[in-house]
């Protein structure tokens, strides 16, 4: 812990919002809190199954030498390099979306910053994000529009740590597709900590696609916090394939009636990779629906963790909540830990959860081979089939194709 404080004191002047009193205070409070509780360890319930690589060796590097305004072929509409937003487009509107640098607007955003102390209390990952913030944007989708945006995260220097926060507001009855890509690049030892907060106003519909396909030596921590007002609908696809360690957490608050959320996930890991996902849905209001469905394929000595949670508040009558975790282990040394949790304080609810871990089905493999398809090819077909029912819900076909290609590469490597 003293290291984090030391790091903070050394870099204070580079940090976004360092002159803002409320943010300074917030950062000091986090440091104080950390001092008394200590950094996370396996003894803490929330880190029991997690990879402590995200805790050890916390870094903040100030190096802006790599930030150049050159367009890369993987670029999206909005791009971050080495933790900094590349503002090549001078307009503040892209595809109908009003975009502002968090830095220029941070003074107005106290409420969004204190949000994680209310909703993700004492969460080490988002606390680090608050302290070491390198950049971020506020995206505002107006009412009654249909639009989409692609954000990319990449690095062109080694040993960079990014701490990015985006605040995304989607106006009434708008439809918004947000695609976030963590790119594979030729750098080493980078870590990213991204924290996105979504506000969905009445009737808004969001499809959020998160593609984490970074290079082997990278570490990614991604957090999302979602608020859904009446009749809004948030659908998330989270896909992992690549990094040495990923730690994601997604928390949805269904605060409006008849709002709904789907947390879908598909992950692949091999070698000694570690993929850790957690989804939480809190039903605050009546007649809301939630789905949390994750499927993972693990080979070699990889580790997977998937924790899902449904919390139904006393007011949230007529809730429908569903949780499913399925794992396919391709090697005896791979390990998947999964734990569904369900806390229900209302009486009129329909909730269920299930979890299975298995191997490739021998009968199915035999059937395919009996048609002349060799074993390796047959296994590939079955692995892809395993994840298909989750992925096929994705409306953005470009992303679906990209994921398909990533999986194909993974299977041929």
């Amino acid at each position: 812990m003293p290291e984090i404080e030391k790091l903070y004191n050394q870099n204070k002047k580079h940090l976004i919002g360092s002159e803002i009193p409320w943010l300074k205070e917030m950062r000091n409070n986090i440091l104080k809190e950390l001092e008394s509780t200590g950094i996370p360890s396996k003894k803490k319930e929330t880190w029991k199954y997690s990879d402590l690589k995200h805790v050890r060796n916390v870094k903040y590097v100030f190096d802006e030498s790599g930030i150049k305004n050159e367009r890369k072929d993987y670029f999206g509409d909005v791009n971050f390099i080495n933790g900094k937003h590349i503002s090549e487009i001078q307009e503040d509107h892209i595809k109908n979306i009003f975009i502002e640098k968090l830095e220029s607007n941070i003074i107005n955003f106290e409420k969004y910053f204190s949000i994680n102390s209310n909703f993700l209390s004492q969460d080490f990952i988002t606390d680090l994000n608050t302290i070491f913030l390198t950049d971020g944007l506020t995206l505002s989708v107006p009412n009654n529009v249909k639009t989409d945006l692609k954000i990319t995260y990449s690095n062109n220097l080694n040993s960079i740590s990014s701490y990015i926060r985006n605040i995304i507001k989607v106006g009434k009855n708008s439809e918004f597709q947000l695609i976030e890509n963590f790119n594979k690049d030729n750098t080493e030892d980078n870590s990213s900590n991204v924290f996105n907060i979504f506000w969905l106003e009445e009737g808004a519909k969001v499809e959020h696609i998160l593609i984490q396909n970074a290079q082997q030596s990278s570490k990614i921590a991604y957090s999302s916090l979602i608020f859904c007002y009446d009749n809004s609908d948030f659908e998330q696809f989270s896909f992992q394939c690549g990094s040495e360690s990923v730690k994601n957490q997604h928390t949805t608050n269904l605060i409006g009636r008849r709002s709904s959320v789907k947390h879908y996930g598909v992950y692949f890991a091999k070698d000694a990779q570690f993929v850790d996902n957690k989804t939480t849905v809190i039903h605050h209001e009546q007649e809301c629906k939630s789905n949390q469905i994750y499927k993972g394929v693990l080979s070699d000595e990889s580790n997977g963790v998937y924790l899902s949670n449904t919390l139904v508040k006393p007011e949230a009558q007529k809730t429908e909540g569903y949780q499913l975790s399925r794992g396919m282990l391709l090697s005896e040394k791979s390990v998947l830990k999964t734990k569904p949790e369900l806390k229900i304080y209302a009486d009129d609810v329909k909730c269920s959860h299930g979890s299975t871990v298995g191997e490739i089905d021998r009968e199915q493999l035999y059937y395919l081979q009996s048609r002349g398809i060799n074993k390796k090819e047959s296994e590939k077909l079955l692995i892809k089939a395993f994840t298909k029912d989750v992925l096929e819900n994705m409306k953005n076909k470009e992303s679906l194709n990209r994921i398909d290609e990533i999986i194909d590469d993974w299977l041929t490597e």
Binding site: E363, Y366, Y367, L368, Q369, S370, R371, G372, I373, L382
Partner: protein, 245 residues
């Protein structure tokens, strides 16, 4: 085509196939009939290369090659096809890409070039309509949530497409209604020619009215107890297995 000599096979230390011999020549269709548990599926599964069966003794030559030296998919690519008694469901494996992978695996192994996408689609559609398989069904996952009869018709579709040298049909007629039985028989007869061979396993003489066998064998307790022509099936239908025990 297929020559089996003195074959004994056991499952979990229990001998199921006992000194079984057969010689299926090119262009011939042999029917094997036998009571439940006599070893018909064991024989077909063993020939296809399924694991869990132990060879006790015997020899199996397929197209003059030692069949038992090959693994499951090599046997299939060499030209062996088994239409399963209980086809496995493959949720998430779409029919068309699956069939394409299967046919291309075979073509590649013969150093032939892969099938043209258009030609392939045309071919599938034509076979499917011949077997009364709807376009809607072709969009689904392999065998997944198919009815019993649909599964059997779909096995015949695969057989037609892969055009094997030797087809083994394990009770392809069971569970079929009379119309489906006719369709399936029509499908089998379409594939049958003087260059390929078939082994048709069935409980019912009725199938053999539509698919006329050159030989009929009666299998009891892992052994062929009697062989003859199609009249043997009629005799069996009248007398039951009792008289052959």
């Amino acid at each position: 085509m297929l020559k089996i000599e003195n074959l004994s096979v056991s499952v979990n230390e229990k001998k199921i196939i006992k000194d079984f011999s057969i010689d299926v020549k090119r262009g011939e269709l042999h029917a094997i009939m036998g009571p439940n548990g006599s070893g018909k599926s064991t024989l077909s599964n063993f020939l296809s290369g399924r694991e869990g069966y132990q060879l006790v003794h015997g020899k199996v030559l397929f197209k003059d090659k030692n069949l038992l030296d090959l693994n499951i998919d090599e046997r299939a690519r060499l030209g062996l096809f088994l239409a399963f008694q209980y086809p496995v469901e493959l949720p998430g494996v779409s029919i068309v890409p699956f069939l394409k992978t299967a046919i291309n695996s075979k073509l590649r192994s013969k150093n032939l070039k892969e099938i043209d996408a258009l030609e392939f689609t045309k071919k599938i559609k034509e076979i499917a309509s011949f077997l009364n398989i709807t376009d809607e069904m072709l969009k689904r996952s392999v065998n997944y949530e198919f009815s019993g009869g649909e599964k059997k018709r779909y096995e015949i579709l695969q057989m037609t497409l892969l055009d094997p040298d030797l087809s083994i049909l394990d009770e392809t007629d069971s569970g079929l209604d009379i119309d489906a039985l006719k369709i399936v028989s029509k499908g089998v007869n379409r594939v049958r020619n003087k260059n390929n061979s078939m082994i048709v396993i069935t409980h019912y003489q009725r199938l053999l009215d539509y698919i006329i066998p050159d030989y009929v064998h009666i299998l009891v307790d892992g052994k062929i107890v009697k062989s003859g022509n199609k009249d043997l099936a009629i005799e069996l239908e009248k007398k039951g297995y009792e008289s052959f025990l």
